[in-house]
């Protein structure tokens, strides 16, 4: 039928290497490349949501992107993941220039993200939602899936196992058969993270991963994120308003305000930066201060 399926059908006939020896995931086993955001500007009707923003996410680091509401954090994510087009500027990830790519092309490079507002399929089970994360890693197209070619079957089994593994890891292992719509908010957040992990990303964009969680859960999530970084060696770009968490797990922090970058550097320094305190922290999240403790 259309190009899509033809290509898939072809690649079904000769998969990259034979199923056993070759990794199906991103071929490079030597850590993720660095992400270089330079001079990115995004404008909407009236306003400039991002104004020549630049920062760099070091390979394998947890980099926090913070700032007041409406500062442009999610917009930045949307640019990185190809949902918005930047008016100018460039985003380089390894060899690739992301600003010119469409979302699925960005995904193909191993950039995964979660959403600020949960974006799962409420009717599908958790397992199915996670399997979608494998989309970029699998090849079965209309033809091979329709004809149930052995290749498609094998693929499904192999990736199914991996999905279960990741689900366990993310702490949603035991709700795999549940339609997502029935899960409480906090659990859905985990599912989102798990789905992103299922893409075997090299760069993971997390938009407020612990929003709507209580202290204990926040901590679990924080540990989970660190575990991801350590065991999967993924670079993580993190948007979060929970200063306690940011301070605990971030290696570097970039602060946006009104679409401009007002600070950049290691957490401690940023946290003391008067400009940041004025624009964002207020008397919250002072050093030593766990999130919002009275």
């Amino acid at each position: 039928m259309d190009g899509l399926t033809r290509r898939r059908a072809a690649s079904v006939r000769h998969p990259r290497g034979s199923a056993r020896d070759q990794p199906v995931g991103t071929p490079d086993s030597d850590g993720p490349p660095e992400l270089v955001v330079s001079e990115v500007t995004v404008r909407f009707a009236g306003l400039t949501a991002l104004d020549a923003v630049s920062f760099t996410v070091a390979p394998g680091s947890v980099h926090a992107l913070i700032g007041p509401n409406g500062a442009g954090k999610s917009t930045c994510f949307n640019v990185l993941s190809g949902v918005y087009r930047a008016a100018s500027g460039s985003v380089r990830f390894g060899g690739a220039e992301l600003t010119s790519l469409r979302p699925h092309q960005v995904a193909a490079l191993g950039v995964a993200r979660t959403f600020q507002n949960i974006a799962l399929s409420p009717h599908l089970t958790v397992r199915d939602n996670l399997m979608l994360g494998r989309h970029r890693l699998t090849r079965a197209g209309f033809v091979s899936a329709g004809l149930r070619l052995p290749s498609a079957r094998r693929e499904a089994v192999r990736h199914g196992a991996r999905v279960a593994e990741i689900a366990q890891f993310a702490g949603v292992g035991d709700v795999l058969p549940v339609p997502v719509g029935l899960l409480p908010y906090g659990v859905q957040k985990r599912v989102e993270l798990a789905r992103a992990l299922c893409m075997e990303p090299r760069l993971l964009l997390l938009d407020e991963p612990v929003a709507g969680m209580n202290g204990g859960e926040r901590r679990e999530m924080a540990d989970l994120i660190q575990a991801v970084r350590d065991s999967l060696g993924v670079s993580i770009l993190l948007v979060e308003h929970d200063m306690g968490m940011v301070m605990r797990i971030a290696d570097a922090v970039t602060v946006l305000d009104f679409g401009r970058r007002i600070a950049d550097g290691p957490p401690e320094r940023v946290q003391r930066d008067p400009e940041v305190i004025r624009a964002y922290l207020g008397d919250f999240g002072r050093p030593s201060d766990e999130h919002g403790e009275a």
Partner: protein, 414 residues
Amino acid sequence: MSEPTPAPDMSASGTPVTDTDTPAAPAPGAPVPAASTPGAHIPAHASAAPAYGVRTRRVSRPVRAALWAVLLAVAVAVPFYLEGFWLQTGLFAMAAAIGAIGINLLTGATGQLSLGHAFFLAVGAYSYVYLSSDLGLPTPLAAVAAVAVAGVSGGLFSPIAGRLKGAYLGIATLALIFVGQHILFNAEPVTGGFNGRPVPPLELFGLVFADTPELVVLDVPFGSLERLWFLGIALLAGAALFARGVLRGRPGLAMNTIRDHEIAAGVMGVPVARYRAGVFVLSSMYGGLAGVLVALVFQQVVPDYFGMPLSLDYLAMIVIGGLGSVAGAIAGAAFVSLLPQLLTRYSDALPLVAEPGSGGVSPAEAARILYGAAVVAVVLFLPGGLAGLATRLGRVRLKELRWAKSAPAQASRR
């Protein structure tokens, strides 16, 4: 069409929380030491787990196999016993089912409304005629090519199909019907105009799907209908299995996600526009196949048939049958195509249905009314459509009431 629904059908939840009741609330006021309320420490995702123990066990294999065997046996026996009228009605139902499966992929699974399905049936039917009689392709080849042509014409529509959503796409596809019929009526050299054109019978491995040459099997005369019956069964089975594979497989997931959350789908690596177009092409190929079959049964293609009402019928079918499910599409198709025939056939025997011509409700009208009522009733009382109902009943019969609740939503979604 594709706005995410707040919460899925709530009948689709697991065994009651009572399974995981925590000990009674501790003495109020004074906070209680951790130890005394163990239940309290299980974090939601862990404690919730049993609460969602959605056990999706299916009917046991042997039972399933047996059911299929019986079904097959019946299907084979039918042409030996039923008269032509029934075979033909059955064949229309099969063709409808194929088309319905196709549109279900589009509307049910991907959330793209299409009112233009009849057009693709027309493309299939006419292409078959043109390719076989004018270009002289061998008929089986012509049939395959016709399906391909339908797919291509679906592809040509992809600038629209890829970009438009929901109601807008639905009505945009109306254009296919009207423009299509205009072409059918006016492009006489190809379409034969309002007369339509005779359909050359299919000829497969020397077997001609027509009344001549005579063929008698077990001293039952096998005319075109008897022969086509088996072709119909085969095509339908193939179409159904293929669609099932697609829905259960990788593409199915992508389609569902496009329906539920387009942007998310893109970010997860699904080329949304291309998929939309792809599904549209696929469903038009199903339409094309249905068209070919219809043509073979009709033996003459006429433009009037491929009008707006046909398209609407297809939508009704998938709703009655159950959105997104292959079995549903088939059930719905059977219902919609059999109902009027049954009523007209047995009008005299039926109460309340009056002799045609006499003042009362004529069979045709009764059929229309029941048909409309069915669409409404299903949506009101049978979420998940006939398919959902079937699963429910099946579960009940198998004493699996507990999972019955979990059946429809899941069954109807994937």
